[in-house]
Structure formats: structure tokens, C-alpha cells
Amino acid sequence: MSKRVVIDPITRIEGHLRIEVEIDENNVVQKAYSSSTLWRGIELILKGRDPRDAGLMAQRICGVCTYSHYKAGVEAVEDALGVTPPLNAKLVRSLLNESLYMHDHVVHFYHLHGLDWVDIVSALSADPAKASKEAFKYTDSPIATGEDELKAVQERVKGFTKKGSLGPFANAYWGNKTYKFTPEQNLIALSHYLKALEVQRTAAQMFAIFGAKQPHPQSLVVGGITSVRDMLSPARLIEWKTKYEIVKDFINRAYYADIVMAAAAYGTEESVLGGMGVKNLLCGDSFLLSRNKNLFQSGIIKNGDLSKVYEIEDEKIEEDVTHSWYEGSNSLQPYDGVTEPKYTGFVNGDTVNGSAKIINEKDKYSWVKSPRYDGESYEVGPLAQMVVNYARGNKPVVDAVNDFLKRTGLPVGALFTTLGRTAARMLQTKVISDNAITTFNSLVENIKSDDSTYTKFEIDKDKVYKGRFIGEVPRGTLSHWVKIKDGVIENYQAVVPTTWNAGPMDANGKVGPYESSLVGLKLEDPTKPLEVLRVIHSFDPCMSCSVHVMDVKGKELGEFKVGTMNSSASC
């Protein structure tokens, strides 16, 4: 019998991802392969365009972490042209970023990742009265868990199941033994799933106040922001604050509480206590709170050793295409990378579910490249940012992490797991939502004496410009690199978070975070591999972000000297 498991499509993510694993006779994963199955070529399309279009076009890389690539594109061009936006513009951009995280992470946990933890069918047999009491175990002030509310939720879901038509919940993994919540806990989480649909709408509105719309905002320009009328309107400011309080409230009373509940229920579940084969972590800094102060700092942790945090040296970053569908096999620095697609496809093979097209791991097998730092694989994302900042002694992070560990009784080491990765995303969201008000207050204070939102600039067609953005976005560290010549974009490239995490193995056989995280995982039923989904979803994959082509002419970007890279990339 075949020992190959193919999962394609991985659903509840952005984009197109295939995961394959090989299992032994005990259904334990021995090897794993990660493949992205879509290529779009957006960086090539950017060439020859007006640099001021870079942000709006790059934004279309991803509609989930929408804004991330917009801001990155605009700020890369600003860096190239030497334009510094006014403080108001920087603070509004930071407010938008905070609003984005508060939206994106909530949607990820409840609507994308949640169904890996929550068995909806089990919730039907819960006792709403008991569940309502249970909710107080995880927070002093639960939300949407009144007995009447839980009963209504239960009734609503019963409607789905009545005729066997479960719609989006059909044919899933309900009843799998690695679902650890009691029926009552499942009902609490299910109620929050529905409540979160409402709250995320509010979070999107909060974003749109200064961003024009969400997804795909349209209020940033090279030199500043355009939503000056919204920024100067007291009504708009207070509208933001009101919505912010609603979303923050949900984060503290539901998201935080549900992760505490998950830690209690899943604290002994083996399949979520591994999931971290790469213990090297890399992150950027982010969230301007006031003129010179960021909420989080950048840095590197090697091999899980929290006693030392290293600074990032950008020249140590290389990308390998040995197993990626591009010409070449060398490990190259991003600006020397190659462009030419070389698709080799899949081969016929057997799987536990029957014959299929499968990855030939000896050949190329993904549109994602494999970034390496100093020859090693690194994980990026909320976990990396929390751990690096914990090790750096960043007070808001240290306090949040310690409180959480105390509350759950988990050791620090528990962070280096699938459960820990999911918890770190929540802790990041909590710290951001607790501190976003500082950005807001700085803005209000500054507006009193300064209403500027835009810095004028000229593009000299006879000059050559080069610049980059490096910073942290919801899925990890992101960088955009641009070269401008004859007044148009000559070169453009993006190095994104999911690439760091999802890349295939390199020339030396070193595997990346996705592939190594699955090794050792035991599957209850290999034909229905819920455990794999849970581990992969904990990274919050964003495939359309991760598939990028470095330019052939990128060599000219080789002159870049970034000095200390202040942040690492993710999306």
C-alpha cells in the first residue's frame, strides 16, 4: 500500500498550495513536501511602469494581507527617491497597519484555522447552560456565550445538518480523535466563529476610515497619504476609536480566552506539541507608536536559543531554486536571482487515496523559492516576532507572554510548537490592540500643530534611483526592492514571508519550516489528514504572496547596501 498522502487543494488559506507527506507503517510522517501551484509574474509586469503605480499594483499580490504590499511598494519608492513623508502620514499608515492586523489575525484564527480546532458537529450535542458557565473559566467577562445566545447558535447549525446539507462544512473531518474540545467548548468557539464574522466587518470599517476601502485600500501615495479630510475630522477620529474599542474588546474577551481554552484542552495532544522543525527565527520591527518609537524590534534567534538575539545582516540572505520551477540551481542573493520559469510538473503515482499526480522530490516541485540566511532555514511570522522580542526583553511582549504562560501553566518551550505558533499570533494581536491607542493619541496630539500629510518630490528622468522597504506584515517579514531609471521602474522584486516558510528543500537537502514541521506527526486516518492541516494552517499560508520571481537584471541591484536590515519579511 502506498505511503504517500496528497492534499491539494489546501483550503482555508490564500492561494493555491499542495502538501504531500510520506508516512511509515504507523502513520507517522517521515518526509513532507510543499508545493505552490500558481505563478502570476507580477514583478515582471511592474517593469517599465511609473514608480508611483508600484504600490497599487503590488497590492494585488494579495487581497488577504491587503495593504501590506501597497505600503511596501510605496515606501520602497520613497526610499529610492529620498522622500520622507510627514509624521501625520507615518502615523496614519501605522494606524492602518494596526487595524489590518486586528482584522487579519482574527479572521485567520476563526474562519481559516478555527475549524482545525473546533468540531462543529460536536457542538450540536453541547448543553448551552453548561457551556455558558464554562466560558467563565477562560475569562472574567466572556462575550457571545450567554445561554440564550449559545442556544440560538446551536439551533442555527442544526438547520445545516438537518437534511445532510452542510454547505461549507460538508465532508470535513468531524469526529477525528485529535479534536480535543468538549461539546461545550466547541459550542463556545462556534459562537465566536459567528460573532467574529460580525467583528471583522467592524475591523474592516475601522480600516476604511483612513484607507478608503478594505480589501485593497487606496489612500497612500508616494510622499504621504491622501485621506487628509478624514484625518482632520474629529468625527472620523472618534469613529475609528469607537470601532477600535469594539474589536479590541472582542480580541481580549473571545480570541484571548479561546486560546487559553485551547491550551487547556490541547495541552497534552501530541499532534499540536511538535510542528517546529526549524528553530531559527527572524523578524523585522513594526508599528510606529510615536515619532521615534516602534512597538516591536527586529532580530534573529538561532536554534531556539533565547539567550542571544542577533542583528540581521542582509548580505547573508540567499535564495535557492534547486527544487523551484525556475532555471538554475545555484543559491543566489535575491538581487542576482533568475526569472525564467522552468516547469517540470508532477509525475504519476499512488497515494493512500488512489492514483494521482504526485511530486517528484528529486526534481523541481514548487513555484516558491527557498530563502536561506547564512545557509540555514528560518521561520518568520508572529511567533518569530514574539520570541525575538521576548528574548530582547520588550516589556509589552514579555508581560503578555508571561501572563499567558502563567494563566495556562505552559512552559516557555511550549511556544515552539504548533499550539505555540497559534498562541503567538493571538499574543501579537493582543499587544498590538492594547497599544494601537498610543499611535492614535500621537496622531491626535500632532494634528494640533501640524496638518501636513504629503511631501512633494520630483522624479529626475536622468537619474537612477534605488531603494527598498523592509518590515513586518501579518505573516512575517516582507521586503520590496526597486530600481528606477528613465523615470520608470527598471527592476522590482519582493521577498515575502510565506516564501521563507513554504519553500522546498535546497541544494544541500535542508528543508524549510513547512516541510520540517510535519516530520514525526502521527496521522489518525491518513486519508483524512486533519493533523497536517492544523500544522500548516498554524503558519497562516499566503501562497500568492510567496510566489515571486527575482529579476534577471537584478544584478544591478547588487550594489544595494542595506547595512543592518531592521526587519525581516513576511506577509
Partner: protein
């Protein structure tokens, strides 16, 4: 029979047929409304709003309500091709007070990769099941362009690694109606911008059945839901323009109903982002606003429950619901500079001088824009 009577009869008959069909979910709309604390009165108000949006007489309001109650007879299949998931995200943001969302999970959502619990083989089974079981009755919604270069292999889906083209053709073959959601599915979108490395195309260039385009990057959820309700109500597709966009949503120019239109007519323009004009909310034409060339309802419907929209936030419209806008409307923050519009920008510069010139220029913009909008295919003139 008058036009109104004929339309009304058609809708009534359609609903009668639908009500006899078996429901995919055995839960009456009244129960769903009640569970969610929504009163019948509010529901009817919402229905009236939809009727107005679809430009239907108010007598249709109860029919809209009935059609919505029958929405569970319509299974939906949503495909993701070469896309960014922004259109799905837009749908998820759909209207407060949650009623559109209610409709969304009330209809039978058989396949949607971003929202569905099942993955891999189980997900593919769901898709196949919907195509077989509901052949001829499901609505296919497609998000994303279709890469056609390299035999379509720039996108593969599922364990058998079928190309996007194959999956689309298969799912389209038994669909009752096909909607292209967003500019990518409608016209190819960002990946189809020059030099279009994957030769990405809109859905209607791949399949032969009629396709309704609901462009926008992303389109507002109102335009998606409204088009769906129209189909449920009449069992036919709505009236469309030359680009297969429903007229009820895309027949007005952004510019014509723009809140800053008065400033255009008065010759008051933002000369530089962040200037006094920007603070006063003056016209963004000189900052590259493509409102005069763009057909959509953003200026009246706005986004995120009416929170804001690009022009409101001081950035011009970029023309995102027009075909090939990345190539024809760029640079996005500069007025269009092509032979089609020669002379127009210098005319705009003179506008401030007299009201008379302003009027003439106004007419000029619209006359030229009409030619632009009605031109079936445009060459990529400037990149």
C-alpha cells in the same frame, strides 16, 4: 401587456417554479431571521433597498423578499483561479446588519476554498458532488483570471493537477449561470497586464456560455449579492452593457454622481496631494482621477457599509472596473495622456477662468469618455 406587467408576471412565475423545487436546506427564512434577531420589517426594508438598487419598481419588494427566502434552492460553486482572494474577502465583509451574510450562508455554498472546512480529496469530492448533483441548477462564481500559456500549467488544482482551464471548463459545463467576480475573472486583471507573462484571460474568453461580469478590484459585495438576487428572482441574467456588466450597477459613470463633481464644474482642483484644495475636498481630476472614464456605483454605494471610498479618501478613482485599466489608465495618479484625450488636460487647466469654459470642458470630458467607454477593445497605448 405592459413592460412592468410582463416583468412582474415573469418574476411571479419564476418564484412559483422555485418554490416547488426541493430546498437544499430545510430551514425557513423566517426561522433564520428570528434566530438572528432580525424582524420581518427590517428584512422587508432590506428587500426594498435591493429593489431600488436593481432599479425595480417598489411593487417588487415583496418578491425580492420571497426570492431571498427561496435562495436556498440555488447551490453556489465558487472557484479560485489566478487571484489574490480579495474578492472573497470583499464578500466576507458584506453588509451590516449582517443580513447579506445571512443570505450568504443561507444559500447552499457547496464549494468555496477560502471558507470550506474540507481540504484535498474531500474538497474535490464536494466540488464533483455539486457538479453532478445540481447539474443545470447551480450558479458558478469565478474569482481570478485564467492563465493559458504553457498549456495552462501556470495554475494546477487538485490531486490530479488539472489546469485552471480544465477545472473551469468542467465546472462551467453544467452551471445554470456563470458570474465572473472581480476584474481578474472578468477581464484578466493584474496578471493580464502587459506583458501578461502567463497569457491570463477573462473567463468569457475561455468558455462559450454567457458570462456576467462583475468587475472591480475588488467589486463591492452589493454588486455581487445584487446580481445573485436578480438571477434568483427572474431566472434570467440581468441587462448588460458591452462588457457584460449588469447595467443596474455599472451604467453610471463614477464622475456623474461623484460628491466632488461640483468642484469639477466650478474648476476647483487639488493641485497637489495634501494642499488646501485636498483639505477642502476639491476635484481630483488633476491627480489622475479616472472617474470620468469609469462605470460603477462606488460614488453612491461606497465601500465597507458606506464607510468610505477612494475619492472620499482623497485619492482619485483608478478605473478598476474597466477592461485593461492597468495598461490604459496608468500612470494611475496622472490624468490620461493619450491621443484620445489630447487637449483635454490643457482645457481643464483653463477651467478656473470662467464658468463658461468650465461647462464646455465638462461636456468635452464626457463626450470623449463615452467614446472611450464604448470602444470595444482598446489597444495598450501607454504603460
Amino acid at each position: 401587456m405592459s413592460g412592468f406587467e410582463s416583468l412582474y408576471t415573469k418574476a411571479t412565475e419564476r418564484l412559483e417554479t422555485l418554490s416547488k423545487m426541493q430546498a437544499h436546506k430545510d430551514i425557513p427564512i423566517e426561522a433564520v431571521l428570528e434566530q438572528n434577531g432580525i424582524e420581518r420589517r427590517d428584512f422587508l426594508k432590506w428587500s426594498a433597498g435591493i429593489a431600488a438598487m436593481l432599479a425595480l419598481p417598489s411593487q417588487f419588494t415583496p418578491l425580492i423578499a420571497d426570492a431571498t427566502a427561496l435562495a436556498n434552492r440555488i447551490p453556489l460553486v465558487w472557484l479560485h483561479l489566478a487571484e489574490c482572494t480579495g474578492c472573497s474577502e470583499s464578500l466576507v465583509r458584506t453588509d451590516a446588519p449582517t443580513i447579506d451574510t445571512l443570505i450568504f450562508d443561507y444559500v447552499s455554498l457547496e464549494y468555496h476554498e477560502t471558507l470550506m472546512a474540507a481540504s484535498g480529496w474531500q474538497a474535490e469530492e464536494n466540488l464533483e458532488h455539486a457538479i453532478q448533483e445540481y447539474a443545470g441548477s447551480y450558479v458558478l462564481l469565478v474569482e481570478g483570471g485564467v492563465p493559458t500559456a504553457m498549456n495552462g500549467q501556470f495554475l494546477t488544482l487538485g490531486a490530479q493537477a488539472r489546469t485552471g482551464v480544465e477545472v473551469l471548463e468542467h465546472a462551467a459545463s453544467s452551471a445554470a449561470a456563470i458570474f465572473s467576480i472581480g476584474t481578474c475573472a472578468s477581464f484578466g486583471g493584474i496578471q493580464a497586464a502587459a506583458p501578461n507573462p502567463t497569457d491570463a484571460k477573462g473567463v468569457d474568453k475561455i468558455i462559450t456560455q454567457p458570462v456576467i461580469n462583475i468587475p472591480g478590484c475588488p467589486p463591492s459585495s452589493k454588486n455581487i449579492v445584487g446580481t445573485l438576487v436578480y438571477f434568483i428572482l427572474f431566472g434570467t441574467l440581468p441587462a448588460i452593457d458591452v462588457y457584460s456588466r449588469p447595467k443596474w450597477a455599472y451604467s453610471n459613470r463614477i464622475h456623474d454622481l461623484c460628491e466632488r463633481r461640483g468642484h469639477f464644474d466650478a474648476g476647483e482642483f487639488v493641485e497637489s496631494f495634501g494642499d488646501e484644495g485636498a483639505k477642502q475636498g476639491w476635484c481630483l481630476y488633476k491627480q489622475g482621477c479616472k472617474g470620468p472614464y469609469t462605470f460603477n456605483n462606488c460614488s453612491t454605494e461606497r465601500f465597507n457599509q458606506h464607510t468610505n471610498w477612494p475619492v472620499g479618501a482623497g485619492h482619485g478613482c483608478m478605473g478598476c472596473s474597466e477592461p485593461d485599466f492597468w495598461d490604459t489608465m496608468g500612470p494611475l495618479e496622472k490624468p490620461i495622456d493619450s491621443h484620445l484625450f489630447k487637449g483635454l488636460n490643457s482645457t481643464v487647466d483653463k477651467i478656473g477662468s470662467t464658468i463658461l469654459t468650465a461647462t464646455v470642458a465638462g461636456i468635452g470630458v464626457h463626450a470623449v469618455a463615452s467614446i472611450f467607454a464604448n470602444k470595444n477593445s482598446q489597444e495598450n497605448e501607454d504603460v
